[in-house]
């Protein structure tokens, strides 16, 4: 191309081409995300349509895999080449890391015009700010500490939905005797961590959870309370089947759906599987707060962070930030995802009973201090600490001869080594 530019004619032609290109692609955003499954994609499409209705273009850049791991790799590669997308699905403390690199653009104009400070719950808003400025916009709120169950299996075993860990173990025995798998689980690091943080919350409470998994207090991490939680966590293995290692979470969910297993501890995205199987919440499948965590809400918030861009792209980016919190999108998207809207002022009557209860729990726990970030889903600590904790948790859970004391000690090391 460079060689051709020397001739005036080609230069003019390419200039004209560039001009027509820029007008055809006027004011568009490129959005990197990993909402790729059918339901998610259709819901995200609502956002695209909202953008297009206002005359902005949407360039979809979807990269699935490993709960966003692949997308993050792509994002880093794009950032290294000095060519980041306009917006990317980044969440939790990672927003701060990108902010520290000076790569994010602020959204204060939109935030002020739309009144985000009053619209968004403070816990949510804090995550979206870097250095006091809004740099990201929340899309939804997932609750992680859910227990899902197949009512027919529970009935066959003659047990009710457990509300404490003791009840869970007791029910598990009855279910096992009735010939079912008590607890469906997929043995992947993030799923092990999901169950672990839920158990910790149930045995040690929200204050301790915060101390240990958010503040990384070495005393808490190495304490007797932690050791006890680890032991209880490993005891849960007795409720699971031998084939779990490597199993995807949705296969575990389908074990509950098919009636092979009674229950599963999983975030509310599991609803998508039940819905796809044609089941109705509260009738064909049950949802309840994970045993012992009724007063807590482990949140996992998806958000779109905005990269520093200029000119028309910035204008489109600001519009995108505004439209993400638009009720039409919030409703459509969250119904498909199983989560609840990031803004609490929406009418929830169209949502299923589980989502309604989630919304109620969110409001209550926010008032009473039971709202905690999920470590397993990258909301509590940075990726390096999270990874180190994952290694300890999953290795402990899968090694029959590793003692809880040793695991707690490793946890202390893990939290310190990466600081």
């Amino acid at each position: 191309m460079n060689a051709f530019k020397k001739t005036p004619f080609v230069l003019a032609a390419s200039l004209a081409g560039a001009l027509s290109l820029s007008s055809a692609h006027a004011a568009e955003v490129e959005v990197l995300h990993w909402w790729t499954s059918g339901g998610e994609a259709r819901a995200a499409n609502v956002l695209k349509e909202l953008m297009e209705a206002e005359g902005y273009g949407w360039q979809d850049f979807a990269v699935a895999g490993g709960g966003g791991e692949t997308a993050m790799t792509v994002l880093k590669s794009r950032a290294m080449s000095g060519n980041p997308p306009s917006a990317a699905q980044i969440k939790g403390p990672e927003i701060q890391e990108w902010g520290e690199l000076g790569l994010l653009g602020e959204l204060d104009g939109v935030a002020e015009a739309e009144g985000w400070d009053t619209l968004l719950p403070p816990t949510v808003a804090d995550i979206m700010r870097h250095d006091g400025q809004y740099v990201a916009v929340p899309v939804n709120v997932h609750r992680v500490n859910w227990l899902w169950a197949n009512p027919e299996v529970l009935e066959a075993a003659g047990v009710a939905m457990p509300t404490t860990l003791d009840e869970l173990f007791a029910a598990g025995e009855a279910i096992r005797e009735a010939g079912y798998v008590p607890l469906a689980h997929g043995g992947q690091a993030w799923q092990d961590a999901t169950v672990f943080e839920t158990v910790l919350l149930a045995t040690a409470g929200t204050d301790f959870y915060r101390q240990a998994l958010v503040e990384l207090d070495p005393e808490a991490l190495g304490s007797a309370t932690m050791i006890e939680a680890l032991e209880t966590f490993k005891r849960l293995r007795t409720l699971m089947d031998d084939d779990m290692p490597g199993r995807d979470w949705n296969i575990a969910t389908s074990m509950v759906i098919n009636g092979d297993a009674a229950m599963q501890l999983m975030g509310d995205w599991a609803k998508g599987e039940f819905t796809a199987a044609g089941l109705t919440a509260g009738v064909d499948y049950l949802c309840a707060a994970a045993p012992g965590t009724q007063d807590a809400f482990t949140f996992n918030i998806d958000s779109l962070a905005m990269f520093r861009v200029e000119g028309e792209e910035r204008e489109a980016q600001q519009a995108l930030a505004r439209l993400v919190l638009e009720p039409t999108f919030q409703e459509a998207f969250n119904k498909a995802k199983g989560s609840i809207p990031a803004r609490p002022d929406l009418d929830m009557s169209e949502f299923d009973t589980c989502a309604q209860r989630s919304q109620e729990a969110f409001r209550q726990t926010a008032e009473q201090g039971g709202l905690v970030p999920s470590m397993a889903h990258g909301m509590a600590v940075r990726a390096d600490v999270q990874g180190a904790l994952f290694d300890v948790v999953t290795n402990y859970f899968n090694s029959p001869d590793l003692e809880a004391e040793e695991a707690a000690r490793r946890m202390v090391n893990a939290a310190q080594a990466v600081l």
Binding site: E69, E97, D242, M244, P245, N395, F397
Partner: protein, 309 residues
């Protein structure tokens, strides 16, 4: 070939070099130059860059705050790194050995004037055409005790049949070997088959006339001829083993726990998922060092013996 007649200006040896002849002399080097430059920059330059990064405390993206060899020290203290390194030795060794053995066996069998040889060859070869992004899913099903082979065989009535390596922390790494052998052994078979076809029949006939038995002929006459094939195959297999990444991600995800992690997945997880570019770079350097330590002696001995033999 009418080359000499079509040439305008013959330039024999000993004549003084004209500029054109000098250019001719330089042409081979000029032709090689871009590739050499590319490999200097993109392979050796990047390695150097990675080494520099391994001395920094780079987190999410590269930064240049040097911390000496601290990342290497952390790596040495990391239990998962040792698991991954040991796994590579086990996996790589078994993978290369089994592929060579199976490939050679199939090639010898296929070389016995088999009907439908073309079809069988294609069947053995096709896995090389597929990527693990999804064949990984199928392998995961097949090796899962509750879904796959174990369930099937039990369904046929062999109730005590057990095949649960995928979920056994001590055995999971061997499932990687199975899937990797499935993918690459057909290719090795093709290499050996090609090698067998390249051997002069008269040597074998002579040995037969001497009354040598078939296994003996293969051991004493054919195998030594295949030595260069073994060399090519080992190079290609070693390259596949070291780069095995998709396979682990798709089949075991490194689990149970991190029992089936490999250095490639370890490096990727730390450099990209866990915002520890410094540590990831250190692991990459050790990986490259390991590769060099094994390859260079092998390359050296092979190239040397070939020159003398």
């Amino acid at each position: 070939m009418s080359l000499s007649s079509s040439l305008a200006r013959p330039a024999g040896p000993g004549t003084r070099r004209s500029p054109a002849a000098a250019l001719q002399a330089w042409l081979p080097k000029l032709v090689l130059a871009p590739s050499v430059a590319i490999s200097l920059f993109f392979v050796y330059g990047f390695m150097l860059w990675t080494f520099v990064l391994s001395l920094t405390n780079s987190r999410m993206l590269p930064s240049y705050e040097f911390v000496g060899f601290a990342q290497y020290a952390r790596l040495m203290a990391n239990d998962r790194w040792w698991v991954a390194s040991t796994n590579l030795v086990v996996f790589g060794g078994l993978f290369v050995a089994i592929c060579l053995a199976l490939g050679l066996l199939l090639a010898i069998l296929l070389d016995q004037r088999i009907r439908q040889e073309g079809a069988l060859r294609t069947v053995y070869l096709y896995p090389m055409a597929l990527s693990f992004i999804v064949t990984g899913v199928v392998w995961k099903w097949l090796l899962n005790p509750g879904l796959g082979i174990q369930a099937m065989v039990r369904g046929w009535g062999f109730e005590s049949f057990t095949f649960d390596w995928l979920v056994d922390p001590d055995m999971a790494v061997y499932t990687l070997v199975i899937a990797a052998v499935w993918q690459a052994s057909g290719f090795v078979m093709a290499l050996f088959l090609a090698g067998l076809r390249g051997i002069d029949d008269s040597i074998i006939k002579a040995a037969q006339l001497d009354g040598a038995s078939l296994p003996r002929i293969y051991r004493r006459v054919v195998l030594p001829c295949l030595r260069p094939v073994v060399f090519s195959a080992v190079m290609i297999l070693a390259h596949i083993a070291i780069k095995s990444f998709d396979l682990v991600v798709a089949l075991t995800g490194g689990g149970p726990g991190y029992a089936s992690d490999l250095p490639a997945t370890f490096m990727y997880a730390h450099a990209f998922t866990r915002a520890q570019v410094g540590l990831g770079s250190a692991s990459a350097m050790l990986m490259l060092g390991g590769v060099l330590a094994i390859l260079i002696p092998y390359l050296y001995s092979e190239l040397r013996s070939r020159r003398h033999g």
